[in-house]
């Protein structure tokens, strides 16, 4: 005899939509924040750019010493912090506003400017070219789990190192229709990239509403700001271009050997930019960042695979959320020289941690060789890892449909679920691997005993052979070329 199903509407429920992950408590965040304010008041930060120094002097609050050290009172920092938007939505040249940068929304993308590449034909390590960047762009355009694109490689075959950034951006645009994070040589370079992007967005004002890119800018740890970085910041502030000022401290070398100490210093570096951009023109989206990791004490390598990178980045993300700032974080990268087990292990750990932390832009996906070598295969492998990581983020639903009490009742002991409607409806919520092999031994053996790296290679080649991104129309292409040609002309003198 079947018993009656129980009532499935309990009271006083707290439901967790997704897993919850946090490294720091609010008290700890405050300790780090107050310490960073103290660093800015006592130690300060050195600024090698005249307009910026003048802005600090003119504020009547910051103190500028003869050695270009700028010290800033907490009151000014706190006023400046209030002037930044908590959200900005990026729009690729495909017209999709696909990257909504706001608290706990996570997007994945590549890193930029890797000097070397393994040639896919010869296997030799060589300098990265325009074509390599365009290929990486096409791969990222295709891969569904990549949301934004950074150049991956650096274009080393451009006519002039002072203008390579325009060519690099062109290669990125040709291959990829998604939103981007761009690097530039200096303020003038950023201006050209911004003009190029405005051609797609429909002008300056439209760009401000739906930017095509975020400008990547970094200080030099500890507490130093070079001329070109500050130029870029000031230009971004003036035009309302979203920018990130992302410290790259190496714990034990250019920052304290403790994670908390590294975070204090890196926050002080960020807060200086927060004040500077506020003094220039309040309102631009300034994104907090940081590749916060350790220097390996055997090799002196700045480690992209260390678990400390993941832990410190997640803690930094906790701080960013408390400060109401958008966060640029790191994951999917490795110190391994090739795409091997080490690369897979390190990439997975940092991707999962960054995702759970709720960082907004998780970059450097696909880096191998500690940010020196480019690997298209690594991008392809990481796409599947991101898929798995996102699945973990989906959490567990516990309502009536998901508890499936009725279904268990129907199937009963010794029955089967595989032909049940409930299975037919819900199995599609599962992660569907593209590259992970789950076949039985015989099938795997019959199909050539392929390893992960065999499958990754084949898939990479397939994408390169087949994926054609939406083309850029001729008129826009011509206008882009005019901007690049003008830059070449200016710099050939």
């Amino acid at each position: 005899m079947k018993s009656v199903m129980p009532d499935m509407q309990p009271m006083n429920q707290t439901v967790q939509e997704t897993p919850q992950f946090r490294v720091l408590t609010e008290d700890q965040i405050e300790q780090i924040y107050f310490a960073a304010l103290d660093v800015l008041e006592r130690v300060g930060s050195r600024v090698h750019q005249d307009e910026a120094l003048q802005l600090f002097r003119d504020s009547g609050e910051a103190v500028v010493s003869d050695d270009k050290r700028v010290r800033v009172p907490a009151s000014l920092v706190e006023r400046a912090l209030k002037s930044y938007p908590r959200k900005i939505t990026l729009q690729g040249r495909n017209g999709k506003r696909s990257v909504a940068l706001q608290k706990d929304h996570v997007y994945f993308g590549t890193g930029s400017d890797l000097p070397f590449t393994y040639d896919r034909k010869t296997g030799e390590r060589r300098r990265t070219t325009y074509k390599d960047v365009a290929d990486a762009a096409r791969i990222v355009d295709y891969l569904p789990n990549f949301d934004f694109f950074m150049s991956h490689g650096i274009v080393s075959d451009a006519p002039n190192p002072q203008t390579y950034d325009r060519h690099q951006f062109m290669a990125m645009l040709e291959g990829c229709t998604k939103p981007m994070v761009v690097t530039s040589v200096d303020g003038e370079g950023l201006e050209d990239l911004w003009k190029m992007a405005c051609l797609f967005q429909g002008g300056e004002e439209e760009f401000r509403l739906s930017p095509l890119f975020v400008a990547y800018i970094e200080p030099i740890s500890p507490l130093t700001n070079d001329r070109t970085a500050v130029e870029k910041l000031l230009f971004a502030a003036e035009k309302g271009i979203p920018a990130m000022y992302t410290p790259c401290p190496s714990s034990g070398a250019t920052a304290p050997a403790t994670i908390a100490g590294m975070l204090v210093q890196s926050l002080a570096e960020t807060l200086l930019a927060i004040v500077l951009c506020y003094l220039k023109k309040p309102g631009m989206p300034l994104i907090m960042g940081g590749v916060t990791t350790v220097m390996d004490m055997r090799t002196t390598t700045y480690s992209y695979g260390a678990p400390e990178l993941s832990l410190a980045s997640a803690a930094n993300t906790d701080i960013s959320k408390w400060l109401n700032l958008i966060m640029f974080s790191t994951g999917g990268c490795s110190d391994s020289k090739c795409l091997d087990e080490q690369a897979a292990i390190e990439s997975t750990l940092s991707l999962l941690t960054a995702y759970l932390s709720g960082a907004n832009l998780v970059h450097d996906v696909g880096y191998i060789d500690s940010g020196v070598n480019a690997s298209l295969e690594s991008l392809v492998m990481n796409d599947d890892i991101i898929g798995m990581v996102r699945q973990v983020g989906k959490g567990v639903k516990t309502d009536e449909e998901y508890l499936a009490l009725k279904i268990i009742d129907e199937v009963g002991p010794g029955g089967e679920y595989v032909t049940h409607d409930h299975t037919y409806e819900h199995w599609k919520e599962w992660f569907l691997p593209k590259l992970m092999d789950r076949s039985d031994w015989e099938t795997w053996n019959n199909e050539g005993s392929k390893t992960m790296s065999d499958r990754v290679n084949a898939e990479t080649q397939r994408i390169l052979d087949t994926h054609e991104p939406q083309p850029i129309d001729d008129a826009t292409k011509k206008a882009l070329k005019e901007i690049i040609d003008a830059a070449e002309k200016r710099h050939s003198k």
Binding site: V418, W427, S439, E442
Partner: protein, 212 residues
């Protein structure tokens, strides 16, 4: 209005069990030849399902739904097929050996065979050797499938094969064995004809072994 067998195949691919069943009946009522309904409707649809499954465009829950539709159509057709036509579709007897209560893998294989148009006799689980022998005598299947998930119950499959020999009916049927611990090597060792590594390849190998 003539029944469109191409549409029937599409419905089968979409896993519309009742629609396929109804349409089979309509086709029969209109006087279409059972063999034609089978070939151009049901089997044509299942062939596409098989291809899509191999290309990772369809997955087990969908394939099984199509298989169920196939089976529903076959239920209507089988009584109308001539003896030789019915035999051509094939009969498959399957069960899990003594001491083993694992059911799902064996059922999956059975469902896949139904999808391929076979008449499937599912004997159940935890079966005495004699049950297999009796079933082969009674149903005269083309194929006998045995499943074991435990290394401790695996040897029972060899015992069934020996019992078939003793009963003098070993040559009447091709024997297929499967289950997670079973290997090609083990299958040979105990004198089975076919090793089924997974549900889909079992059907392919089974058909090949009996020439269908």
């Amino acid at each position: 209005m003539a029944v469109d067998l191409g549409k029937m195949a599409d419905l089968l691919i979409a896993g519309k069990v009742e629609d396929v069943s109804n349409m089979t009946q309509e086709a029969i009522d209109e006087g279409l030849k059972p063999q034609e309904i089978l070939d151009k409707g049901l089997i044509a649809g299942m062939d596409v399902v098989g291809q899509r499954f191999k290309a990772c465009e369809m997955f087990i829950p969908e394939v099984l739904r199509s298989a169920k539709a196939m089976s529903a159509g076959m239920d209507k057709l089988r009584p109308l097929l001539s003896e030789s036509e019915a035999k051509a579709a094939g009969t498959f007897v399957i069960g899990t050996v003594k001491g083993d209560l694992h059911d799902i893998g064996k059922n999956l294989v059975g469902m896949m065979f139904e999808g391929a148009g076979f008449k499937v006799v599912n004997l159940g689980i935890d079966l005495d050797t004699q049950v297999f022998v009796d079933a082969v005598k009674e149903h005269k299947p083309d194929l006998l499938g045995m499943s074991a998930l435990l290394t401790t119950t695996m040897p029972r499959m060899g015992e069934v094969i020996n019992a078939l020999k003793e009963a003098g009916i070993r040559d009447q049927v091709k024997v297929m064995v499967g289950g997670a611990p079973v290997t090609e090597e083990f299958a040979k060792e105990i004198g089975a004809d076919i090793y089924g590594a997974n549900a889909a390849s079992s059907v392919d190998k089974g058909r090949e072994a009996i020439g269908k």
